[in-house]
Subunit: 380 residues, 2 copies
């Protein structure tokens, strides 16, 4: 297998972009990544996106390649619900590792704020099981709430312990110029914020976001396109049932564990080696489950650890220096690409927000309620 | 680059499947392909699909893996408009060629007949450019009609010459047990069929279809899973602008030519080597342009050639022994996978319809009006 390097990153600010269309947003990130890779033209593009159907547009690889001045290259879109970005990186990785291409652009893009919120909320639920879950009228937040209730009861987790996650994320994201919600939040604000789907409150939940991020991937022959190439040392993806009622356990993210094990094995690294990670905290409960399945905490212990001040700068690992999905935001199909861009910059030492550095980084991008999960191990 | 083989194929009948959901259809094809590969479990799944958003379901890799008894494997969905199936094969190919996996299942699936026809017609137009084309109210057939009119005028092609394509396709497809429209059509019927978007008539156009097809791909170590493995010798994909107004030439399929050149170069084969091919005749005009860009005919000559009886059994190449999109049908995201399944069976000698055989086969799957095109060269 040929080694694959990240030689360029590009991000747009996450937020509401009324004056930029989907292709504008995607091209802004794409051209930044190309510029970061010395202006080199990619041979292929992989687009991570879940919900462009909301704006009546598919065929995104052709659309974005053309708008970015790349007509004639190869490419396609990859979808894996909220894990589309991570899955797109797996596809881009394999296009280079195979020898088919030497330079591949991976672009994650999502535009959730163009349509009325009820349409977007309904669209996000396409990540769940339409025939066996949505038919009962449950929302995506509702599905996550079922797990959060069960988990808090089972392990005796308090409201206060859960809410410390949001406080910490906003402390980190406050420093990130690309973050959507750049403001600090107090424990009281988080604990007393409006209920979305009990026990999920506003600050347990990520915002709806527009945004795009891009990575230039390259083979060993082209790693010098950037002075500080970062190696993709491990790639792991795993699928689980979208339908919660058929899961092995309601409070386990089987695919998180599997994908992390696969990535660690390939990278010949251990969970203890990780200095910095970006994990997928769409809801605080998903942060807790991911932390535990990856192995950063024992089962049922993650909220107690973060309430005690763990995972902050100075600790190992530092989690979500970007502010995570809570503060940076969650432009669904772009999120996995944001995570990889952020960790690349952490390892290079040029992340413009909370810069913590390190030698070994991890990203985990979660699609659905844990049904399509990608873990990456990045190394200097 | 590691060699990749097709060691299993599976297809459902194309048509209207009111009693099978999207996951049922996909799993039927998936399990047939797995059975054809000796019951071997794949390590990853790539799903080709364009329009599952019409039935409010994304996250198809997780959904179909779970329904097929494959929970825990890796995977994602690939989209490239009507070329989604071909692009999914490119992704599956690279997952094996890279060394990430040894056994990958590629499943193409589409369910277009579940929703009212106006919704489906609108959905198909997501393959075009929403901001610069659809905003004017043009349909996907309308875009193809613009090219057909221009092409017929430019090269002096008659209505009769164009219509011979449909007659030939229905002669072939009449013999295919998986075809949607298993009936012969006379020249008079084709020429006088209702106008869809002038000059496109009913028999110039493929039907709306439900269907699924699957391939088991394997590395060299696993090629013995099937007694007659078929090698994927060449893979070529190319993107063009979705927006027709910005094309280099209205009657050229730039991406068809590029993708074919790339596939031939990789396979070290020439257009003259091709014994049998499945091309993407969504409209007769697209058949003509593809035939010319691949190099089976000179520019402006394809309809005259097929009207004179070329491309039929006994000729080299034989085109679309399946009946093509016209008769076999066009379950959009599945079509590229049907084509590869059909050519695999032609080379193996077990296609249950018009069996013509050969040593070298080609498939070309066209997304949008030529904006995402994949060409494969398959060899015994």
């Amino acid at each position: 297998m040929r080694d694959v390097y990240i030689v360029g990153v590009g991000m747009t600010k996450v937020g509401r972009h009324m004056s930029l269309s989907l292709r504008d947003l995607a091209s802004e990130a794409a051209l930044k990544a190309i510029e970061d890779a010395g202006g080199e033209r990619p041979e292929a593009i992989v687009v991570g996106n879940m919900l462009s159907s909301l704006v009546e547009q598919e065929n995104l690889a052709a659309l974005i390649a053309d708008h970015s001045g790349l007509r004639g290259i190869s490419g396609f879109k990859v979808e894996g619900a909220c894990g589309s970005g991570g899955a797109a990186i797996v596809a881009g990785y394999s296009l280079i590792a195979s020898g088919l291409f030497n330079k591949v652009l991976v672009v994650g893009v999502e535009k959730l704020l163009e349509r009325p919120t009820p349409d977007t909320t309904r669209g996000l639920a396409y990540a769940a099981d339409a025939d066996y879950e949505l038919i009962y009228g449950i929302s995506f937040a509702g599905l996550n709430a079922l797990i959060m209730r069960y988990y808090m009861d089972k392990y005796g987790i308090s409201r206060e312990e859960m809410s410390w996650w949001a406080v910490m994320m906003h402390e980190n994201g406050y420093q990130n110029p690309f973050a959507q919600l750049r403001k600090k939040v107090t424990l009281e604000e988080a604990m007393n914020s409006p209920v979305i789907a009990d026990p999920i409150r506003l600050y347990d939940s990520c915002p709806l976001s527009d945004g795009a991020a891009a990575l230039m991937l390259a083979s060993k022959d082209y790693k010098s396109l950037n002075d500080t190439p970062v190696k993709i040392s491990g790639v792991g993806n795993a699928l689980d049932s979208p339908d919660l009622s058929s899961r092995f356990e309601l409070d386990s993210l089987y695919a998180s564990r599997l994908s992390a094990l696969r990535a660690f094995k390939m990278a010949k690294k251990d969970v203890k080696d990780v200095d910095v990670a970006e994990i997928h905290d769409a809801y605080s409960i998903i942060a807790a489950l991911s932390i535990e399945e990856i192995g950063f905490a024992e089962k049922g212990k993650a909220p107690k650890m973060w309430a005690e001040g763990r995972f902050r700068p100075g600790d190992k690992p530092v989690l979500n220096p970007s502010g995570g999905l809570k503060s940076r935001g969650h432009p669904v199909g772009a999120t996995g690409v944001y995570q990889a861009s952020e960790i690349t910059m952490q390892l290079r030492g040029d992340f413009p927000g909370l810069q913590v550095g390190g030698e070994v980084g991890l990203t985990q991008n979660v699609g659905g309620v844990g049904s399509n999960i990608t873990t990456l191990i990045l190394t200097r």
